[in-house]
């Protein structure tokens, strides 16, 4: 099977240049994954430094300046450079395969999204070496973010987030077009796996929410560099406008971060409970409902800004309502594992932990919907505890579960189970040690984004516990990294065939790793969980019984019965192209120039020329070139 893969990849497909020019959605997915993993360790290191500073009262491990930069960059990194790209990695790799397509709708646009993402990330991180990183928090509230004009720090943030936004909008339009136009025959919308559905919802969320913050960022940029007065209160500007523009994006954004993880969990739980997902349409529609209602709750981040009782009541009620579809999902997951033959392996453990931790985070979230209660909690560590329970114990656990689940598909090898379980328990314990105490700290009045705290407030012990927990998380993820290195790079992992988990969806019908063209033959889909129904029939008691060797694809030995169809030479896959990387490099150079106005204009000139060169070359070149 591996031999077959190697015959497909010609020698020209190897090396750095092949990765730069690749338009293969699987390779781009892996690029996203590796980049996100690198940023995850950087962002985690920043968090560790922050936690070390807070270990005890009145410590001075870091300067206040460094502390501000670190917590800002931690938030920025984890949201935009870790969780969004890891979601993009899974979507890139699996959305086309799950719907039976050979690639995304626009392979080159896909490459463009990746390169713009990585260049934007590098642009933002270059700030550490160019006078200091952004230090006005990831939300960058005006007028704090407009007044720090003596340094360029917050411009790295305005420009970097804007170019990341372009990347995300391009990727989202791509995924929407893919899901609507590239589905295999018979793959109706309501036969799409839940993960594909959640990716689609996320793409819509990004498409309709990013423009709002992009305009806000541009206004901040004009305020900082051209003397515009959007947020200058003394001239009649209203800084609250920024909060609206930011949170119209920012609240849908939290669903952007968590919905793909929910999609992964909805794939993992049925596989290892060996039961179909309980109430598939409910899971799908509640995901869509979360996305839709998510656009109507942004002001619950602003309950202390004095919007008036009507707005506060309205947004409070909307926030309570959004807990309903979320609860529907929780019950569906519980229904899925109820009475199942549960296999407690690492992907399953992480998915179960996702459900549990997300319930805790969801419940503390509902307390924010109550305006008087929120007024007490606002800007305290209680909020930090809440969103880490949904975004770390929730989203990150979900993605880690996805890594364990799909790693065999990526590499043809399973991750080690023992190391995986060590990773899981250390991560779960470390996570709860870190963020559990923050509920108490917050309710005891400890403000977030605080550099130091005095003795005698009763905060010292819980802060020490939290810091110990943070180091436990570090150990846990070092085990994870070692597991991946050992399995993949040292070739010590157990080799597996197409379908190691006895899966339900289309990705398990093709070789591991999949060939460039994914499917030798475009599959024809007859039902939800089609692959499962090919393998199993129901007996009179409603139990699944394995059908006697229906297709060779169900066999771990490889794709018997399919190999004689369609050679890779016979399938026209899009040709590699360096134009997408060139165009995004141009945009990044332009962005770098914008940070350093006025003498950055030279860089802007160069950047625009490079960008136009890339874009025109791209739009004039045919998708598939004759060799």
């Amino acid at each position: 099977m591996t031999a077959q893969v190697q015959t497909i990849r010609s020698p020209g497909d190897r090396g750095v240049w092949a990765w730069i020019t690749t338009v293969d959605h699987k390779r781009i997915g892996l690029l996203y994954a590796v980049s996100a993993a690198a940023f995850f360790f950087i962002g985690g290191l920043e968090a560790l430094l922050v936690r070390t500073q807070l270990l005890g009262p009145n410590l001075e491990v870091l300067s206040a300046e460094a502390y501000n930069q670190l917590f800002t960059m931690h938030g920025l990194t984890m949201v935009f450079l870790v969780v969004m790209p890891i979601a993009a990695a899974f979507t890139n790799y699996f959305l086309p395969i799950l719907i039976g397509a050979r690639d995304v709708a626009f392979p080159r646009l896909n490459a463009f999204s990746y390169w713009l993402f990585i260049f934007s990330g590098l642009l933002i991180y270059s700030s550490f070496f160019l006078g200091g990183a952004p230090d006005g928090a990831w939300v960058g509230y005006a007028p704090l973010s407009t007044q720090l004009t003596e340094v360029v720090r917050m411009d790295f943030w305005t420009i970097g987030l804007s170019t990341l936004g372009i990347s995300s909008i391009a990727a989202s339009a791509n995924f929407i077009a893919t899901a609507f136009t590239m589905r295999a025959p018979g793959m109706t919308m309501l036969r799409m796996p839940v993960f594909a559905w959640m990716s689609l919802v996320v793409a819509f969320l990004l498409i309709f929410s990013l423009p709002s913050v992009a305009i806000g960022l541009f206004q901040l940029f004009l305020d900082r560099n051209f003397g515009a007065l959007f947020y200058a209160a003394d001239a009649g500007g209203d800084p609250l406008l920024w909060q609206h523009l930011f949170w119209i994006f920012g609240h849908p954004e939290v669903y952007v971060l968590v919905l793909p993880a929910m999609g992964i969990v909805s794939e993992v739980l049925p596989t290892f409970a060996r039961k179909p997902l309980f109430g598939y349409p409910f899971v799908v529609f509640s995901g869509a409902a979360i996305g839709f209602i998510g656009f109507g709750v942004w002001s619950h981040h602003m309950f202390t800004s004095g919007m008036g009782p009507i707005a506060e009541a309205g947004f409070g009620v909307a926030t309570m309502i959004i807990a309903v579809p979320t609860g529907v999902k929780i019950f569906n997951w519980i229904g899925t594992i109820w009475g199942g033959k549960i296999k407690f392996n690492t992907p399953m453990l992480f998915s179960l932990a996702f459900v549990a931790m997300f319930v805790i985070g969801g419940l503390s979230g509902v307390t924010h919907a109550v305006v008087p209660s929120d007024t007490q909690q606002h800007d305290t560590y209680y909020v930090v505890a809440h969103f880490h329970y949904v975004l770390f114990g929730g989203a990150v656990f979900g993605y880690v579960s996805g890594v364990y689940y799909w790693f065999p598909k990526w590499t043809g090898r399973k991750l080690n189970e023992t190391l995986g379980k060590i990773h899981f328990w250390l991560a779960l314990i470390g996570f709860n040690l870190t963020f559990g105490p923050m509920h108490v700290l917050g309710l005891n009045g400890m403000p977030r984004r605080t550099y130091r705290y005095p003795e005698g407030l009763g905060w010292a012990n819980w802060n020490a516990v939290a810091t110990i927990g943070a180091y436990t998380i570090l150990v846990a993820f070092l085990v994870f990294a070692w597991n991946i290195v050992r399995t993949h790079y040292l070739n010590k992992g157990e080799r597996v065939g197409n379908d190691p988990w006895d899966g339900r969806t289309l990705e398990w019908t093709i070789p591991s790793p999949p060939p460039v063209h994914n499917f030798d033959e475009t599959p024809i889909v007859h039902s939800l969980d089609d692959f499962w129904h090919q393998k199993y029939a129901e007996n009179e008691e409603g139990r699944a019984v394995r059908m006697p060797a229906v297709t060779g694809a169900a066999d771990d030995q490889g794709d018997i019965g399919r190999a004689d169809h369609g050679t890779p030479e016979g399938i026209h896959m899009p040709s590699p192209s360096y134009y997408p990387a060139l165009a995004s490099l141009g945009i990044a150079i332009t962005g770098g120039g914008l940070v350093y106005l006025p003498w950055g204009f030279a860089a802007i000139g160069v950047g625009v020329v490079v960008m136009l060169w890339g874009l025109f070359g791209w739009s004039l070149e045919p998708v598939t070139k004759e060799h």
């Binding site: 397509a101 050979r102 709708a105 626009f106 646009l109 909008i169 989202s172 339009a173 791509n174 929407i176 077009a177 609507f180 136009t181 590239m182 589905r183 025959p185 018979g186 793959m187 109706t188 498409i207 309709f208 929410s209 990013l210 423009p211 709002s212 992009a214 305009i215 806000g216 541009f218 206004q219 004009l222 305020d223 051209f226 003397g227 515009a228 007065l229 959007f230 200058a232 001239a235 009649g236 500007g237 209203d238 406008l241 523009l245 119209i248 024809i524 889909v525 007859h526 039902s527 025109f616 791209w618 739009s619 004039l620 045919p622 998708v623």
Partner: protein, 201 residues
């Protein structure tokens, strides 16, 4: 089981993956939906600051007859654009080229008018740093102007490409997609003309 598959084949809109055009158009309409939020954010910023002149000039300096003329020019460019698309559909490259060039020319005229208008306003003391009104006015109309400029570049590029017969249906740069973009830029101006100019006097 197999009959299910057959009926579903009929209902799958895009069973043919080689039919590239709807794929591009799907993405284009998604993008235009997104653009609505872009301009929505800027128009509402303008509405918030429409009276916040900070002691500087306000909407009384608008020259409605002049702006009406340039609005009319942009509106008519939508006609020439749709005629270009019509000619392209019928593979009439000469007509396509004429109407594309005409659209680009009308767009350039609109831009020239906007530059003239901006210099007039700056002379009258309305600048970006003068007031939140000025900031939001220039950002909104300037952003729209940048869209027009990009459209003019694309139209001109297509007119040039058609000379060497390199105007294809199946490339990112094609008449229908640029047409959709151009009409969108036009309808945004319809809104701006109503909300920013006519309603404020």
């Amino acid at each position: 089981m197999s009959d299910v598959a057959v009926t579903d084949l009929d209902h799958t809109e895009h069973a043919d993956h080689h039919d590239v055009k709807p794929v591009r158009k799907t993405a284009m309409w998604v993008f235009l939906g997104s653009e609505c939020v872009f301009f929505g954010a800027m128009i509402s910023t303008f509405l918030l600051y429409r009276n916040t002149t900070n002691g500087g000039p306000g909407s009384e300096i608008f020259d409605i007859p002049f702006t009406s003329a340039s609005s009319f020019v942009l509106l008519m460019s939508s006609l020439t654009m749709v005629l270009a698309h019509n000619a392209f559909e019928k593979s009439d490259m000469r007509q396509t080229r004429i109407w594309l060039s005409g659209t680009a020319l009308l767009g350039a005229t609109f831009l020239a008018g906007q530059i003239f208008e901006f210099t007039e306003f700056i002379d009258k003391g309305l600048t970006l740093p003068r007031s939140p009104f000025g900031s939001s006015f220039y950002m909104l109309t300037g952003f729209h102007g940048m869209h027009v400029a990009l459209g003019v570049i694309l139209l001109a590029a297509m007119a040039v490409l058609s000379l060497s017969g390199r105007l294809y249906d199946d490339r990112g740069l094609n008449v229908e997609l640029v047409g959709l973009y151009w009409h969108f830029v036009d309808i945004v101006w319809i809104v701006i003309f109503t909300v920013v100019y006519l309603l404020q006097i």
